[in-house]
């Protein structure tokens, strides 16, 4: 017997499906094992009712119908499975839409941060001049002279306090610093060192010590 491959069942009324089934399966609906299988799966169907087929299509994920010969005849998507698949499709579509929205938000945030960083560098340019800004852009470091000590303020990482025989790493930054452009953080620390070094050293946490530099790393400095 040839496998039954019609897809008419999905979405069709139960009686149409039933007629279609009969025309394709030589054993017909009277086939014992077929009914046995249907009934055992749906648990409620009565063999000679059109509703059996309807129940079947409605309530099982994949149906497999066996004839007396014992061959696999049909394997179809049912309404329930179709509903599940549609639900999954909608879910994927929705999450894809959300993902695209999130990516757009990230892109806007990135562009805003870049614009803010450019503004911060313009402010630094006013303070240190063009030549030093070039060095800052290259190294991300600014040499700042305090009343007691000298410091290297870095765009990323600790502030280096330069003492006679050692370098002290200081952890100090703008409150909520990720909100601000990195260069604004550098400017703020430079101003505090120059304007109120005592407050600066009191506020900073001393992270760790290292031997003094043999040679000072390249940094931008006040002209």
């Amino acid at each position: 017997m040839a496998p039954y491959t019609s897809t008419d069942y999905y979405g069709s009324s139960s009686d149409t499906a039933w007629v279609s089934w009969n025309s394709h399966v030589p054993e017909g609906t009277s086939c014992t094992s077929t009914w046995y299988y249907w009934n055992s799966e749906t648990c409620t169907a009565i063999g000679n009712s059109y509703n059996t087929w309807g129940n079947w299509c409605e309530n099982v994920d994949n149906y497999t119908v066996w004839t007396d010969v014992g061959n696999l005849v049909i394997q179809h998507k049912t309404k329930r499975l179709a509903r599940t698949l549609n639900f999954r499709k909608r879910l994927i579509k929705r999450s894809e839409k959300k993902r695209r929205k999130d990516l757009a938000k990230i892109e806007i945030h990135k562009r805003n941060r870049e614009a803010a960083e450019i503004r911060a560098k313009e402010l630094l340019l006013d303070l240190i001049g063009e030549d030093q800004l070039k060095i800052y852009n290259e190294t991300g470091r600014l040499f700042v002279r305090g009343r007691k000590n000298d410091y290297i303020v870095q765009k990323y990482g600790y502030v280096k306090k330069l003492e006679k025989d050692k370098v002290v790493d200081l952890c100090i930054h703008l409150d909520n610093k990720t909100k601000y452009p990195e260069t604004d953080n550098v400017i703020a620390l430079k101003l505090l060192i120059e304007g109120n070094e005592e407050k600066f050293t009191k506020t900073a946490h001393h992270a760790c010590y290292a031997p003094a530099y043999n040679e000072l790393p390249k940094c931008a400095c006040m002209p």
């Binding site: 805003n112 614009a115 803010a116 960083e117 450019i118 503004r119 911060a120 402010l123 006013d126 303070l127 240190i128 001049g129 002279r145 952890c171 100090i172 930054h173 703008l174 409150d175 909520n176 909100k179 601000y180 452009p181 604004d184 400017i187 703020a188 620390l189 430079k190 101003l191 505090l192 120059e194 304007g195 109120n196 600066f200 506020t203 900073a204 946490h205 992270a207 006040m222 002209p223």
Partner: protein, 74 residues
């Protein structure tokens, strides 16, 4: 002309005043005072490259004042 540069998440914001114009000076002072109340620190920068000095009161004759949000130890 005086200039306030206020640091913020979108980069600094500029407020300019003419020391001879009382209304502009008053408006700038109000902005200055409200930010100091919020915890901002003010630094006067006179000329290009000069070391900044911290101020606590608005100075209309200051060339440039940079207002910095609160600084904390990490």
């Amino acid at each position: 002309m005086g200039e306030l540069r206020i640091m913020g998440s979108k980069g600094d914001q500029k407020v300019i005043w003419d020391p001879k114009n009382k209304d502009e000076v008053d408006a700038s002072k109000i902005t200055f005072d409200s930010l100091i109340k919020k915890g901002f620190k003010a630094f006067k920068v006179d000329k290009k490259g000069d070391a900044g000095s911290q101020i606590k009161k608005f100075d209309p004759k200051a060339g440039k004042i940079i207002l910095v949000p609160e600084i904390v130890g990490g």
